[in-house]
Amino acid sequence: MKLLTKVRLILVLAIIGGMLSSGCSRQKGEAIPLLNWYVFNEPSGAFSMAARQCSEASQGAYQVELIPLPADTDQQREQLVRRLAAGDTAIDIIGMDVIWTAEFAQAKWILPWTGHVAEQAKAGRLAAPLQSATYQNQLWGAPFTTNAQLLWYRTDRINTAPETWDEMIHLAETLGKTGIIQAQGERYEGLTVFFISLLASAGGSVLDESGTRISLAQEPTLFALSVMARLANSVAADRNLATAREDQTRLAFESGNASFMVNYTFVWPSAQENTPEIAEHIGWARWPAVIEGKPSRFAIGGINLAVSAYSLHPELAFQAAACIASVRHQQRAAELGGLPPTIAALYDDPKVREIFPFADVLHSTLRDAVLRPQTPLYNDVSLAISRILHPMRAIDPQRDVVRLRDAITRALNSEGLL
């Protein structure tokens, strides 16, 4: 008996010891590997739920820990690149903005997706988001969420949505005091997106197909710049246009003074919650075209999930990222966080359609979507664009085509200041 109690005691101690050591050390072989997922701080909790459920489903293979980054894309990038450039092993999965793919891949900070996990990451994805995770014919991330702007307008003031920017500006000018168009004109990434979308809608692009040389064909660029100048100098422009970002334009639209707004889909749940009386009269349509009869093409946003090249558990990180980006969690992200999915079939899912009554318009927008230039120097290119084109009211299309080309060329040669 005495011996038995002793054995029991030792067993109990061993179990307690095992529990303690698994709790605080990662070096022990039997401990669950911890995967750090760096991603923007998603307020609804959809991301943390995905992290938890995927960890549970892995049955002890890995544990995903969410590390929130700031909401602002530039600040997210700033924190990530500083760590990645230093080879930080504490980053496993990266919530990678669609514009970082080329840079991160070229710098060898992330691993390419191959084999089974790559198939999982590609399954059923929309073309544009999938393209955004691809660089030099290799997949560098699992397309997770996407985003595009729509045209939001007041159905109580306008019967049918305008199809082109010219038509919309003209219409707004005839509406009088409430004929304001809300757009993003601050000197930041949003202005670059605005320009690239106008340019793509006019049939142009910033870089040529090689992705290394400047394109900026004369005619489409002039079209795009003319729309910007016309909008900014019209009475239909908000007087805060030069400092407006997405959120300011949303608030201004919710105040009821504007009749049109180009903005992302987050404005819909927001209007329903803040100003239900206005939400009743909100209509949606495709982003306006630049040339009549030629549907607009918007430069999409969103994030892909990439695996850091310095991760200590890359295999597990691929599995976890594939799980987080799977149908189930994309659906959750749409339901809880209002983040549009990258899996095409989800746009026919009843639950998703309930969240996005504009699912069809959004789906068709995404089908025609374009990408911002996929170059490792995108950050510099974008800064060059937003610097040259701000403020929009000072744009002189003929002169600024030349300035723009000059600034982007310098950026592509890494020689211009920013």
Binding site: D74, R77, E78, V81, R82, A85, E103, Q106, A107, E186, R187, Y188, N240, T243, P376, N379, D380, R387, R410, S414, E415, G416, L417, L418
Partner: protein, 293 residues
């Protein structure tokens, strides 16, 4: 030079050696390394593509409108804040110097802003000027988004700087005030000079070296301004300063070559300011002879 002198000289060098070694390690080496890096096209994202480009980085910076704009902004902030600080600093110094009661308490109270971390101070000012949460708009009975326009953004940045660093100026000037011989003031008073004449003809000339040192210190500080602007506007509304250009190039774009060139140019700016002050205005550098002259 006899043997003893030579030995003493050697001993002096030996005694200085540790300090000199440390200084070379933490100051001279980084400066030289930055100068060296600035001659390369060197992007930390693509380290293998490093090429020697000579002075190309400097040419590219000096022909860029971004640099000149930032330099202009920095000079506006520097001149704006230092001149107000000098004025206010003098007033505060005179108050501190002439306080009869609670001298220590008054001095300590005036130093509080200087003791505060710049980021915290800038945050406080940002909140104060915020149109929705701030009290400034309510106080002035207006609705203005101060930080969204260039002019008012500059005003807020300068005010923040002034609030934060005037105590430093005041402290230096107060030390200068104690240098003014009491007998001189008394004699002037006997001769019928009024308070303003005594201040302009006696106090200021006697304090000139101290004033110049104080202004030099503050100018050098203000020229390198970063944190206040970073917190208040992040360089938006065209308020970017040269230090922010350096930060953006080095830490956001990870462009080591170009960023080092910006840093070197800022260093040159600091050097020019120092030379103008020391050679042009005769600011003493600490050697006895010059203070006396």
């Amino acid at each position: 030079m006899n043997l003893r002198q030579r030995n003493e000289r050697r001993l002096a060098w030996l005694l200085c050696a540790p300090a000199v070694t440390v200084l070379i390690g933490v100051i001279v080496y980084p400066i030289l390394y930055a100068v060296w890096l600035s001659l390369f096209r060197y992007d930390l994202r693509f380290p293998e593509q490093r090429v020697f480009v000579g002075l190309d980085n400097y040419v590219s910076i000096l022909t860029s409108e971004v640099w000149w704009q930032a330099l202009g902004n920095t000079l506006i902030l520097t001149i704006g804040s230092v001149s107000i600080e000098l004025l206010l600093g003098f007033i505060l110094a005179l108050i501190m110097h002439h306080t009869l009661f609670w001298r220590r308490a008054v001095r300590a109270a005036m130093l509080i802003p200087y003791a505060m971390i710049t980021v915290v101070a800038a945050m406080a000012w940002k909140f104060a000027f915020d149109p929705t949460t701030g009290f400034i708009d309510a106080l002035l009975d207006r609705e203005q988004a101060w930080l969204t326009q260039r002019g008012s953004a500059f005003l807020v940045i300068i005010l923040t700087e002034v609030w934060k660093t005037t105590p430093f100026m005041a402290l230096l000037l107060m030390a200068g005030l104690t240098l003014v011989p009491h007998e001189l003031i008394q004699a002037a008073r006997v001769d019928g000079a009024n308070a303003w004449q005594r201040f302009i003809k006696i106090v200021v000339p006697t304090m000139k070296p101290v004033i110049l040192v104080a202004v030099l210190f503050r100018t050098l500080d203000a020229f390198r301004i970063f944190d206040t602007v970073f917190i208040l506007t992040r360089g938006a509304q065209n308020t970017e300063t040269v230090s922010m250009v350096g930060y953006n190039t080095l830490l956001v774009s990870l462009n080591l070559g170009l960023g080092s060139a910006v840093s070197v140019l800022i260093f040159v700016g600091v050097l020019i300011i120092s030379i103008v002050f020391i050679k042009g205005f005769g600011t003493p550098t600490g050697r006895r002879g010059e203070i006396d002259s």
